[in-house]
């Protein structure tokens, strides 16, 4: 592990150097294995926030209160520590720069991680495909990659924020969940045939995906990745 950056009160991003990694596609994940001195092992999948061609990659991890692995990654892991990982993994929930269709990204909480990789790949490739991100967080303090998302704004990339528990002061709309009305008002409509990527807690993903299909998106255009949890 090379360095860490605190992102939220419960989460941080972690830079890892992996000799021979050779890069990954935007949206891919890796499996991380932790071994206790008594031989007990736990494996967890983490989405990769970076989408580069080099040997350095970035994860962003939110501490789960009952978690076995995430508290260690957020609270205990130090630069120089060794990690055992497998990847890059997964060829389904990915965006490739040669794709030219409009893209709607929808993230809940730490589900932003693979979507940030896609937004970074989009910017780095100079793609002019229309990208929109709808990012649902509990409070303004829970935002991962806040400054970077602001910096990525361009004619081809726009972010819509949804606060589910508490909004910033003076925010024009009340806190509330991402429902069908929010999706209809703040995402690329089905008539434009966007590729849609939805990532977050399982309940969030399934509710959003159902609403998108009700709004006319073909189920095959809505790619999902469930992080578990509620």
């Amino acid at each position: 592990m090379a360095s860490v950056n605190t992102e939220t009160p419960t989460g941080r991003s972690i830079m890892i150097d992996v000799p021979g990694w050779g890069g990954n596609l935007a949206g891919q994940h890796l499996d991380l294995r932790l071994s206790a001195p008594d031989g007990y092992q736990a494996v967890r999948s983490y989405s990769i926030a970076s989408a580069s061609t080099g040997d350095r990659l970035e994860l962003a991890v939110d501490r789960l209160p009952e978690g076995e692995v995430s508290p260690y990654l957020v609270d205990d892991l130090l630069p120089g520590d060794q990690l055992e990982l497998r990847g890059p993994l997964g060829g389904w929930f990915v965006w490739r720069p040669e794709q030219t269709t409009p893209v709607q990204l929808i993230g809940g909480g730490s589900g932003i991680v693979p979507l940030v990789a896609m937004a970074r790949a989009h910017a780095a490739s100079g793609s002019t495909a229309r990208f929109q991100l709808l990012y649902s967080v509990r409070t303004p303090e829970d935002v991962f990659f806040k400054d970077e998302l602001a910096a990525l704004a361009s004619p081809y990339f726009a972010v819509t924020w949804v606060y589910t528990r508490r909004t910033p002061e003076g925010w024009p709309t009340a806190a509330g969940r991402v429902n069908r009305e929010v999706l209809a008002a703040a995402t690329i409509p089905a008539s434009e045939n966007p590729a849609v990527f939805v990532c977050g807690p399982t309940g969030f993903v399934e509710s959003v995906a159902d609403s998108l299909v009700a709004l006319g998106h073909p189920a095959a255009s809505v790619k999902t990745e469930r992080f578990g949890g509620k």
């Binding site: 999948s45 497998r86 790619k223 999902t224 469930r226 578990g228």
Partner: protein, 84 residues
């Protein structure tokens, strides 16, 4: 019990198959639905997985890790179409 989806299987199945089968289309032996494996529902218990059809909830596949092997049982998938 919460669940995940077939994206999670990319790692464990890389021990068995030389290509990423999470992008393969599988046909459910129960209801005949054809879907990409990444879209299946995945229930995790320790190092074991139960994979269910997202349409009819029938079991498609189980992965059970033993001390010296990984047992892959696929009786719920009548066939898979793997991108080449």
């Amino acid at each position: 019990m919460t669940h995940f989806d077939g994206n999670l299987l990319a790692g464990p199945l890389s021990e068995v198959f030389s290509v990423d089968v999470t992008t393969a289309v599988g046909r459910c032996a129960g209801c005949g639905d054809e879907a990409v494996l990444a879209m299946a529902m995945v229930y995790e218990s320790g190092t074991d997985f139960v994979v269910r059809c997202s349409r009819c909830d029938d079991v498609l596949m189980t992965l059970v890790r033993g001390e010296h092997d990984l047992r892959v049982e696929m009786r719920g998938i009548s066939y898979m179409r793997v991108p080449t």
